[in-house]
Symmetry: D2
Subunit: 159 residues, 4 copies
């Protein structure tokens, strides 16, 4: 995979329900917004995640998630969720995200989610071949894109 | 800091509201459970987080969070949230978590949250001295506990 | 049905995630607490709702819900969810709730949820006979318990 | 107030996070969607709810809410939240909602929320005069719009 990966930008507006008594968005909701970004990313490459589940019994089980919170998101703000694929092979996919305020362009958070493809029984399976092309995956693909949270936040995890 | 750190185990029961149509707990809810673990950890060392907010205007803003999902949590299961402090100094604290099924003892997830101490205005501040002892923090403390997700999941983050 | 109905009191502690920027619990979360009350009510009469779903493919689909908010619930408070059956027959059940602060005994809210029994296909069905006794339902039962929110709040709904 | 009241239609797409293991949207989330409808209704008449809170310290505390669930909402569906004012006077407002599937036009739910105007201290107050015109409220207004859930669902509440 060379050059800039395909990105998609979804847009959400912060709901009151998503705030907490600190007056900002409760941090767990960023993972929900990443879900919105991921689903819209899939739609942008011609895949409807709902169909993956119902037609091919293929689910993206979350194996890992991480988020760095850089600035608080506030009620009623419009937030852009930029999403791209950080890594993919036949058994897993890593989505990466950058969330920013639509108006000020201030980056609110960066994050990633790593998923394994599983069947209805939650057992790992390969991504059905019909979806490979959309994700730019070929039988020869050997992707090695980094998947940690950008910016060195995971330094401590190094051996 | 030597020896085993103080741990606290909180217990929750999975709510129907927390499941999704994959038939398992939606992944963002693990961060909410970590909040429960964190608050109960504080209570176990004599601190009521609510009082920190109201009496000392000290909030724990989440700066980073990560979670590795090892096994699905299911509706109505009882889950133990084991919480301990991975790192602390006057301006930040890292909590680490291990979630397991109460009955089977199967580990469901591991994770961490990194917080900075902020005031009501969300500006960084130092942890008020009255809380230092409870967290085992002394003016001489220089902690250097790793804070990444255990198990090497963040390898990709290395430069 | 004569005399006081069986009641069950479940207890929850308000999570930070459940608050909003008004500094109180976001109102939709009361419905989640009612779910906790309902499930624990069932457990108190010997029924595990999870088993109803998996063993008998019987689900309680929510057909209607209502809540009157009398006092705000605050972060870290312990809340008692008192639950009882307001009405039941073979095809539907109404649960009623009273939520109060554990410490002050102040009533925070009253509400109800009306459910129809449905199968895995979401089609209406009768409550399987094995559960009838636990709910005090007999083939002769003709319950006529009122199901609106107590206190006259629904006056406007009259024709 | 004569003729049809002003209505606004907001649109949301069902998130995976909003589903539960029954494979449909968890019922409490409809209240969150009503919030979206209400906020967009306000925007449509020139009011930004955020500003009401920050500039006039006027909050809409929920005093009562009700919802009738007519058909399940499914993942990834687009839902239209039709919102209008059912009743208003200087101290309270009732919003009414109809939720329908965008594509099929099937009505999913109807509901209402009743709010009292409160200050930052959560004490009741009058709606500041600067907002009266937008809501069609005049010093002479005496509204008497019904506020129950339409369709007779509250019959049991009659004395």
């Amino acid at each position: 995979m060379t050059g800039e990966p395909h990105c998609h930008e979804a847009q959400i507006r912060v709901r009151y329900a998503e705030t907490d008594q600190m007056g900002v968005v409760y941090h767990a909701n960023y993972l929900v917004w990443m879900e919105v970004g991921r689903v819209e990313y899939c739609r942008s490459i011609g895949l409807r995640y709902k169909d993956m589940e119902t037609e091919e019994s293929t689910h993206l089980a979350v194996a890992e998630a991480g988020c760095r919170y850089l600035a608080p998101a506030l009620y009623d703000e419009e937030v852009v969720v930029k999403t791209w694929v950080g890594e993919i092979h036949s058994r897993m996919i890593v989505f990466r995200y950058e969330l920013r305020n639509l108006e000020t362009e201030k980056v609110l958070a960066t994050g990633f989610t790593k998923h394994v493809f599983v069947g209805r029984d939650l057992k790992p399976k390969k991504l059905p071949p019909r979806y490979w092309a959309a994700f730019g995956l070929t039988p020869q693909s050997k992707t090695a894109v980094t998947m940690g949270i950008s910016g060195g936040g995971q330094r401590g995890a190094q051996p």
